[in-house]
């Protein structure tokens, strides 16, 4: 069932499937071709570098010793060294032209390796392998005989091979050579070609040998003399040692007596020390006891003093009490007396009062002393009533008088009592207290006396103990000193003994050392002699060997003057290692060079880089394109199969089964397509390979087919196609069986209101086109994308073809273009300057000067070579930091980036060169042997140039005329043909041309295919309506116009999208490519746009014509009846 379904499917959609098949074949061919070219290129480049033994650096010397290799291998960072002989020869080509070649000699093994790159017969012994470019320039072919000239003879050599030598590809100079020479080239040859030079070298080496031999004999004699002298010295030393031994033994004997004396003294002193120790112990014991007793006595003394103080205090108290008692008695006595007086007073008072009273009782004439107031006293003049009045005025009444009398009586009684008491007190004091106090005083006095006696006793005892302690203290004070004296004496004795022993020991040691030294010297002397004899023997052997080699020197194989170095992978600063290696070899070094500094070397390595980019980028683009195309076709097939799908679904086929059918069909188509594509990739690969190899002058490519990548590309295609198929079958799920198999009129889904409103006033035919586009948006989008991609790729391909030419045009036509560089050893004479410009074959001559100077900035300096050019010169092959070719600045200097870094300067800074301050006007990224650049005007201040040069543009291929004109000039050195620079760049970019054409071809084929099929598909989709129009009377012409406008819409949209996309693709890719060459930059040409649009319009017309041709074939009846 499935088989028949598939068969039906293939039959029905055979045209579309064939178209898909062809696309897949073509695309897979291109992709696999790209992949394999990359693999082949990688393989070839690496194989070339290996077989041709491309080193990391080369040191050229004028030496021939092979042990220079060992010297170089000893330098850290150097992994390997190979050496060979090189030199220059002149020869006549078969054309009669005299040419010069730099020769690198090879052994048979190396030659065989190179021969694997070319298919040749086994060479004779006298053969050369000439560099391809040199041979091409001078019309030298394989099988030619060249005559190598030396001083008096010419020797024939056969040109056995023409190869692409890395020395000319990679080396910036080979003894001052470059690829730019036409009459100076490079070749490989056997050593015998340099016979004359090697003979000279042989003589020199013989002379060197003789010199070494003489030196050897001299050294040998010196060695013998030195040994004899040494033996004498040793004998002398032996004698001296023995005499010292005898002296020592005598001294030893004398010292033994001293030892005995000192030993006795030591014993005595040690005994004295023991006694001193014992006395110390006893004194300490006594001291302890005395101190205890003394402490006790002090305690007692203190107690006594306290008691004495207390007793004295008691005594004093008693004395004081006695005094107070007597005093009290006295006061009491006085008080008694006062009381007595008072009593008398009271009596008087009483009398007065009684008198006063009597006054009241009657008046009395009294005189004397009374208590009455003076009024009474002055009674003589007064009456009694007057006296009574006055007494009343004074408060003196009978009542008051009575009261006063009573009080006086009371007072008198009291007084008497007081008197009695005082008397009693006085009695007690006198009889009791005073006697007791006195008794106490007496006891106190007695106690004080006793205390005084006791204290005296104690004082005496204390004094005695203190004396004893003092004695002990004195003893103790004295003891350290005594001990010290004793110890000192003991130490003296010890020291004395030690000194004697030490002296004896030293003497023995010295003697032993002397013996050892003597033995050691003897051994050393013996060893030195042996070594010397061995070295002499070796030297003699080496000389004999060298002599043997020299005598056996037929092939001159020991000669080496070029050392090809391979660095360790992890070396950071290769230049430093190279410098160290050159320094290690010394003055014999004539040149040293890092190959990697060569721009060409980098380009050679870097051809893989842009290729790698393109090998990822372009296949990816192609893959996407294939995916889109397959999606497009598949969508068409699905659309046209709607009915069948509906039927299958109605019959019970699941969605997966339906999709699987499509995927299976695609897969069955893909497999043979991929196989055919892989087969197609071979010639594509071959074409591209050859282009690359020719561009880089590789002899031929080692064909390499990367099966893995082919499988990967194929898998990618299959995956992409299956993905596209699956995507295109998404609408299958929306197909309802009943809708499809129903005979109801299929009404298209309505157009959106928005668009019908917008296009309301549009002409019906145009409106029909636009609305049908809206209806089939997905298909339109897919078609537009495919066409857009075609536009983009076509535009992109034009970039490779068109822009590259514009760049070269820009580099070599807009800028000054020179054919030759002429080198002078001295300034060209005015006659030369004038004469050259009058030659008919000269178009232009410009002068150049080079100066060697020191560039200084701050404390840093670096040697630079300045090239001075005329003002408007352009600096070819000198890129700035952006990779663009630089123009010569009017002022200032352009420094190389390495020099700028060493000086620590940037653009705008100032450097001093030959005493002249110059602004750094630019920094170039030129590598290798780089120049600094400035204008001739600026350079005038730099003094006398080192070299003079002309840049010459010729009117035609007249370089030989130029050389002929200059040949006999004394100051002429050589001419370098530079026109090949542009040729070289052209060749370098030939592969890009090829790629561009390939991509263009691919874009044209694909674009044409896509546009035609898109048109056809759209036509099919509009078959019914176009048929209706035909049926109702529209002519084919009218429909053609309508349909063309439909197609133009696609075209315009695709252009609008595709041109910017193509532009971006171009910029991105060419930048990547240009990054490797440092000279590429994107130039967008109007021609590019014209070509792209023109080609696409042609496609459109072609597609339209094909569509209209199809239209003619429609069966109107069937088309009108066709269900949508």
């Amino acid at each position: 069932m499935k088989g028949s379904l598939l068969r039906g499917f293939f039959i029905r959609f055979r045209k579309m499937l064939i178209a898909m098949f062809l696309i897949v074949v073509f695309c897979s061919g291109v992709v696999v071709g790209f992949f394999n070219t990359q693999a082949s290129l990688n393989y070839t480049v690496n194989r070339y570098i290996s077989d041709f033994n491309v080193p990391d650096a080369v040191i050229s010397t004028n030496i021939t010793e092979s042990n220079a290799e060992e010297t170089l291998l000893a330098i850290p960072g150097i992994a390997g060294v190979e050496s060979r002989l090189t030199g220059m020869v002149q020869f006549y080509a078969s054309s009669g032209r005299l040419l010069t070649a730099y020769v690198a000699t090879l052994d048979q093994e190396a030659v065989q390796k190179l021969y694997s790159w070319v298919q040749l017969d086994t060479p004779t012994d006298d053969y050369v392998l000439i560099d391809q470019y040199f041979a091409q320039q001078n019309h030298i072919s394989i099988g030619d005989e060249i005559l190598v000239t030396s001083e008096e003879e010419q020797r024939p050599f056969l040109v056995a091979a023409i190869i692409s030598a890395p020395e000319t590809l990679f080396g910036n100079k080979i003894d001052g050579l470059s690829r730019n020479y036409s009459d100076i080239g490079f070749m490989y040859a056997p050593v015998s070609i340099l016979a004359r030079e090697t003979e000279k070298e042989f003589s020199r080496m013989m002379a060197e040998w003789e010199e070494r031999h003489q030196e050897f004999l001299q050294v040998k004699q010196e060695a013998d003399d030195a040994w004899a002298q040494g033996e004498q010295e040793l004998a002398g030393a032996q004698q001296e040692l023995e005499s010292r031994q005898a002296e020592f033994e005598q001294a030893q004997q004398e010292l033994r007596g001293q030892i005995r004396t000192l030993t006795d003294a030591r014993v005595q002193l040690m005994l004295g020390r023991m006694e001193l120790d014992e006395a110390g112990d006893v004194a300490a014991e006594h001291k302890t006891k005395l101190e205890e007793a003394l402490a006790k006595s002090y305690g007692q003394m203190l107690e006594l003093e306290d008691r004495q103080a207390d007793t004295e205090e008691i005594r004093n108290s008693l004395n004081s009490l006695l005094v107070r008692l007597e005093d009290a008695r006295g006061r009491l006595t006085a008080a008694r007396n006062r009381l007595t007086q008072s009593a008398g007073t009271l009596r008087v008072t009483l009398t007065a009062l009684q008198e006063a009273k009597s006054v009241w009782d009657g008046i009395h004439d009294f005189s004397g002393e009374t208590y009455l107031p003076e009024i009474v006293q002055n009674q003589a003049d007064m009456t009694v009533s007057e006296i009574e009045d006055k007494l009343k005025d004074r408060g003196i009444t009978p009542e008051s008088l009575d009261e006063a009398i009573s009080e006086v009586n009371f007072g008198t009684a009291q007084l008497k009592q007081g008197q009695q008491r005082i008397q009693d007190g006085i009695g007690q004091i006198s009889q009791v207290y005073l006697p007791e106090v006195r008794a106490g005083l007496e006891e106190a006095e007695q106690g004080l006396e006793l205390i005084a006696l006791t204290r005296e006793s104690l004082k005496t005892g204390i004094a005695t103990m203190e004396d004893a302690l003092q004695s002990i203290a004195d003893f103790e004070a004295q003891e350290p000193e005594n001990r010290k004296i004793l110890e000192e004496k003991l130490q003296e004795v010890e020291d004395g003994l030690n000194a004697i022993y030490a002296g004896l020991s030293e003497g023995e040691t010295a003697l032993a050392e002397g013996r050892e030294q003597l033995d050691s010297k003897k051994e050393e002397a013996l060893k030195a002699r042996q070594e010397s004899e061995a070295a002499l023997s070796e030297g003699e052997e080496s000389l004999n060997e060298a002599l043997e080699e020299l005598n056996a020197w037929e092939g001159y194989t020991p000669l080496r003057n070029e050392f090809r170095i391979t660095f360790e992978p992890d070396v950071a600063d290769r230049q430093a290692v190279l410098d160290a290696a050159a320094a290690a070899l010394g003055d014999v070094v004539t040149d040293s060079e890092l190959y990697e500094n060569s721009q060409l070397f980098r380009k050679f390595r870097d051809i893989l880089s842009p290729w790698d980019t393109m090998t990822v980028f372009i296949p990816l683009v192609i893959l996407v394109l294939v995916m889109m195309v397959i999606f497009l076709f598949s969508s068409m097939i699905v659309r046209q199969s709607r009915r069948e799908i509906g039927v299958l679904r109605a019959l019970g086929f699941s969605l997966r089964q339906v999709r699987g059918l499509f995927c299976m069909a695609s897969f069955l188509m893909m497999i043979p397509a991929l196989a055919a594509g892989i087969a197609l990739s071979m010639p594509i690969k071959s074409i591209v390979d050859n282009a690359w190899m020719n561009a880089y002058h590789l002899p031929f490519h080692q064909s390499f087919f990367d099966v893995g990548k082919a499988v990967l590309a194929s898998l990618g295609m299959v995956v992409a196609s299956q993905a596209a198929i699956l995507l295109s079958t998404i609408p299958v799920s929306r197909i309802q069986p009943v809708e499809i198999i129903s005979r109801q009129a299929n009404i298209r889904r309505p157009v959106s209101e928005k668009w019908t409103r917008i296009l309301r006033r549009t002409k019906p035919m145009l409106k029909m086109s636009l609305l049908s586009l809206m209806r089939n948006r997905l298909q339109f989008f897919a078609s537009a994308v495919c066409v857009t991609a075609s536009v983009a790729i076509l535009f992109f391909s034009m970039s490779f073809i068109v822009s590259k030419d514009d760049i070269i045009e820009e580099m070599f036509v807009r800028r000054i273009h020179y054919d030759c560089q002429v080198y002078f050893s001295a300034k060209p004479t005015p006659e030369q300057e004038e004469g050259i410009r009058t030659q008919s074959w000269i178009a232009q001559v410009d002068s150049v000067r080079t100066y060697s100077a020191e560039a200084v900035s701050g404390h840093d300096s670096v040697p630079v070579t300045v090239m001075a050019l005329k003002e408007e010169a352009s600096l070819l092959s000198v890129p700035d930091e952006h990779g663009r070719i630089m123009d010569l600045p009017h002022e200032g200097i352009v420094l190389a980036i390495d020099d700028a870094r060493k000086l620590g300067v940037q653009k705008g800074d100032t450097v001093t060169i030959a005493g002249v301050s110059l602004t750094v006007a630019g920094i170039s990224r030129q590598s290798g042997n780089v120049y600094s650049y400035c204008s001739l005007t600026q350079a005038e201040a730099l003094g006398e140039p080192d070299q003079y040069m002309w840049l010459v543009r010729l009117n035609g291929d007249n370089d030989q005329e130029l050389i002929g004109w200059l040949k006999d000039s004394e100051n002429y050195i050589m001419t370098v043909i530079t026109q090949i620079l542009s040729d070289g760049i052209n060749e370098l970019h030939a592969p890009y041309d090829l790629i561009g054409w390939l991509i263009a071809g691919f874009a044209v084929v694909l674009g044409l295919f896509i546009i035609v099929n898109t048109n056809q598909t759209n036509l099919q989709n509009h078959k019914k309506e176009l048929s209706i129009l035909r049926a109702i009377g529209f002519q084919r012409r009218e429909i053609s116009l309508h349909w063309f406008s439909h197609a133009v819409l696609y075209f315009l949209i695709s252009l609008a999208l595709g041109l910017p996309l193509g532009y971006e693709l171009s910029v991105i890719t060419l930048k990547k490519v240009g990054a490797a060459s440092h000279q590429f930059f994107y130039v967008s040409s109007p021609y590019q746009y014209v070509m792209t649009i023109g080609i696409l319009f042609l496609f459109l017309l072609l597609a339209h014509l094909l569509s209209m041709h199809s239209l003619k074939k429609w069966n109107l009846v069937e088309s009108v009846r066709d269900k949508e």
């Binding site: 009404i747 409106k767 049908s772 129009l1029 049926a1031």
Partner: protein, 243 residues
């Protein structure tokens, strides 16, 4: 307009002579028309009856210039249609033939009015499209798209389109085939009204007998041959038909 008067006048509008049409290759050859000859009078409403595969549609397509016979000829006003070039045939279809299709075949992206305007003959009446739309009773649907019209409405627009060019001949290929019976009946009534009033020569192909009641003449096809030709109720044997 001519109408039945023209028929009475017996003027031949279109005639077919010895039409033969076959499809397929030798082993699978199918003869759709087998030496069919037919005259159609001006103003006549001819119904061609036949079962599916009888050749009726093929005959109609020959008459309408949509297809060319393997042998035989079609004449319009004495001019042979069969030998015309594609351009002449297209002009013939545009100027002289109005087609009404079973599936309407309107342009989906154009409104009803625009569909009618496509080939309208505006020489005598610039607004003929409007008028035709009015005639079929769909003036209010002038700005509707076919998807917005019912089947009957679409067929009416199709009829209006066919008549808008004022053709000499109106060919209808199963005009009610895609409609339900009631709608179909209404369409037929309207169609009859229009063509009778305009006096058009009409050929209608159908496989249903209901349409025959409106016909002036009925031709029955079977296996590519006319087996019965009936006019005004009288059967005209094929062999008696004078050419």
């Amino acid at each position: 307009m001519g109408g039945r008067a023209a028929i009475r006048e017996n003027r031949i509008a279109l005639s077919a002579r010895n039409l033969v049409k076959a499809y397929g290759s030798d082993q699978n050859r199918t003869v759709a028309l087998n030496d069919v000859s037919l005259d159609i009078r001006t103003g006549e409403l001819l119904v061609i009856l036949g079962s599916s595969g009888s050749g009726k549609s093929t005959l109609l397509n020959m008459l309408g210039g949509m297809d060319q016979p393997d042998s035989g000829s079609v004449y319009l006003g004495g001019v042979a249609v069969s030998g015309m070039s594609d351009r002449e045939l297209t002009r013939y279809r545009r100027d002289h033939v109005g087609f009404v299709f079973q599936n309407f075949n309107l342009i989906a992206e154009l409104t009803a009015l625009e569909n009618i305007s496509l080939t309208a003959d505006t020489r005598n009446d610039p607004d003929i499209a409007e008028h035709m739309l009015e005639l079929v009773g769909l003036s209010e649907k002038r700005n509707n798209y076919p998807a917005q019209l019912s089947g009957g409405q679409q067929q009416r627009v199709s009829i209006a389109r066919a008549l808008a060019k004022n053709p000499a001949l109106l060919l209808c290929d199963e005009p009610t085939g895609a409609l339900d019976s009631e709608t179909g009946r209404q369409i037929l009534i309207q169609l009859e009204d229009l063509v009778r009033s305009w006096g058009k020569t009409v050929v209608i192909v159908t496989h249903t007998k209901e349409m025959s009641r409106m016909a002036d003449r009925i031709v029955v096809l079977r296996n590519g041959s006319i087996i019965r030709d009936e006019m005004n109720g009288q059967v005209i044997p094929a062999r008696e038909i004078e050419w």
